[in-house]
């Protein structure tokens, strides 16, 4: 068992998973503030056909190509959801459901075809569904890690702009910030974060890595900056822990362990969070109640 942990391949995978978790945590903070948590779920499911088309076209399991394919189909899906929602009476949640499930269905069709024509090269494609971090090779891990770091840098270096665009797009416009550009760029970053994660976490659960850490961070702070930091930390811990656990067992899927790790962090935050946690909420309200009732006694 120690052998696995000491192997340089695993160390690469581990570090990359932590980076991925951190990038997803930061990106998730943005998408949660925009109330688009489930959008990431739709995009990640919709990435599957892109992966399969890229594989069928190149005949290779080259991660770079697969990521590009996934990214393109994720972007198309995001645009379709917007388009359906804006040009018809269909509400956004239904539009997401349609795109998510139809794209995923298409992906499964292609996966089945790939399994017939792949001559063995396709083995491991199934891993894209639940994630298979342990089976990643070093170069794949490096691609994932480097892209995750780039996403983080882009967020950090333009933090002020993101903050204004997220909170008050109108104000941002008046300040001369190209809001439209930032909004498209946001979608682009979201798709990038999702597709680099799907090999490790899987298309079905990738959304959790975006949603859960940032929701947890919300219970500890009111400051956006600290929220980004905390969310990144929570995401990093979940990514690392999940990868570690799944490495112990033969062929254990990584995604579910990452998710459960982050859910534990979430539960702790929900109850004990210092700013918004249930415990604090209860304390404050009972203080208010006792204040009011003592007040009444005085009045009477």
């Amino acid at each position: 068992m120690a052998d696995i942990l000491l192997s340089s391949n695993f160390q690469w995978v581990f570090v990359s998973a932590v980076m991925l978790g951190m990038a997803a945590g930061m990106m998730g903070t943005m998408s949660n503030l925009r109330k688009q948590g489930l959008m990431s779920d739709a995009i990640s499911h919709a990435a599957l056909p892109g992966v399969m088309i890229a594989f069928l076209m190149t005949g290779e399991k080259d991660l770079m190509f697969l990521i590009i394919g996934a990214g393109l189909s994720g972007l198309i899906a995001a645009c379709l959801i917007q388009g359906i929602h804006q040009s018809t009476r269909i509400k956004e949640d239904a539009a997401m459901g349609i795109v998510l499930s139809v794209f995923f269905g298409g992906g499964i069709m292609l996966l089945t075809i790939a399994n017939q024509v792949g001559q063995g090269k396709q083995s491991g494609l199934d891993g894209f569904i639940f994630g298979q971090a342990a089976s990643m090779i070093r170069s794949d891990a490096m691609i994932m890690g480097v892209l995750a770091i780039i996403v983080m840098l882009v967020i950090v270096f333009r933090f002020k702009e993101w903050k204004v665009v997220l909170f008050d797009p109108n104000h941002a416009k008046m300040m001369g910030i190209p809001v439209k550009f930032y909004e498209s760029f946001y979608t682009f970053l979201l798709v990038v974060t999702i597709v680099i994660g799907i090999q490790a976490v899987g298309v079905i659960l990738m959304a959790a890595l975006l949603i859960i850490p940032s929701v947890s961070a919300r219970y500890w702070t009111h400051s956006l900056l600290i929220m980004f930091v905390l969310s990144a930390v929570f995401g990093g811990i979940s990514g690392g822990l999940g990868t570690l656990i799944s490495a112990f067992g033969e062929g254990l899927p990584t995604g579910p362990f990452i998710v459960v790790s982050s859910s534990v962090i979430f539960l702790v935050s929900l109850f004990l969070g210092s700013k918004n946690g249930l415990w604090i909420q209860r304390m404050k309200l009972s203080k208010y109640k006792s204040l009011k009732s003592s007040h009444d006694v005085k009045e009477d």
Binding site: G37, D41, S101, G106, M109, T112, F130, A207, A208
Partner: protein, 290 residues
């Protein structure tokens, strides 16, 4: 009945039951809740399997229903504590689903279930799993399950038709009348869960979402009458099941994947050509008003 006959019947029943329940789903803006339940139902099935050690109908239905109710309840509770609804849904379903997958993948649960089967469904196995029904003879278990669930769903919707209508259109008014809005919410989510699990065998967890949402959304573009929307949605569901099967045979690929894909084709057609709210109709109307 022939092998293909059973498969087409199963597929049609999936389309009809999902199409009916889907109308209320999208009108209540619960589409993503259906996505969530279709995932968490897996946990229910795993636990039912761990307890009863079989994958027979009733146990699975109860397990699925409990999982669906649990999901609904936790999401509701999180929301009441101030979590945004999509965040609440996202947290709950990914977590419960992960627990289900972990139970299957590790020896903890000792469950010999095929995750891929649960996710993708395997309609081609349906005709092999027969049970004896009095008066009718040998019928695939999935068909019996689907007929029962479809009948149940239809009955519940018809019996409380006006209550469904008002709790969907204006829940605040319904509540001010004393109609138990929350109870009906849970009842509805249980129906979504049992429909999901009945369709499971055939189309799997994720493609069931396509069946639930897409035909109903397509129907929404065709009409402004609620009852007609039910009829159209059920027909679209049935149509895409059959169309999907044909595509799958033609391309020699996954049947459930093709069915999901076929719902997309019907939606695309509706998006362009639907006489009331399709693209062409809308553009025409715009031009006339100018």
């Amino acid at each position: 009945m022939s092998y293909t006959g059973w498969i087409l019947l199963t597929a049609s029943l999936v389309g009809i039951s999902c199409g009916i329940i889907g109308v209320l789903l999208i009108l209540r803006r619960m589409a993503m809740m259906a996505d969530a339940i279709s995932h968490t139902v897996l946990l229910g099935i795993v636990i039912a399997f761990m307890i009863s050690e079989s994958l027979q109908g009733t146990g699975m239905l109860i397990g699925a229903m409990l999982a669906g109710l649990l999901t609904t309840w936790i999401v509701q509770w999180f929301q009441s504590k101030g979590l945004q609804s999509d965040a609440a849904i996202g947290v709950v379903f990914t977590t419960l689903f992960s627990i289900g997958v972990i139970l299957i993948a590790t020896s903890v649960g000792n469950v010999h279930l095929d995750v891929n089967h649960a996710l993708m469904g395997e309609i081609s196995f349906v005709p092999w799993n027969l049970i004896d029904v009095p008066l009718v003879g040998e019928v695939p278990l999935a068909v019996v399950l689907l007929v029962t669930v479809t009948a149940l769903v239809l009955m519940v919707i018809l019996l409380f038709y006006k209550e469904w209508k008002i709790t969907t259109f204006d829940p605040a008014l319904a509540a001010s009348f004393g109609i138990p809005v929350l109870v009906m919410h849970y009842l509805f989510m249980s129906m979504v869960s049992i429909t999901t699990v009945a369709a499971f065998d055939a189309v799997g967890a994720i493609m069931v979402v396509a069946m639930l949402i897409t035909p109903a959304a397509s129907a929404n573009l065709w009409t402004d009458r609620l009852w007609l929307m039910f009829v159209l949605s059920a027909s679209f569901g049935m149509g895409s099941s059959i169309l999907g099967y044909v595509i799958a045979i033609w391309l020699n690929t996954s049947i459930s994947g093709s069915m999901a894909f076929a719902t997309g084709l019907i939606f695309l057609f509706s998006y362009v050509f639907a006489p009331r709210y399709g693209r062409i109709a809308v553009l025409k109307k715009k031009r006339e008003t100018i």
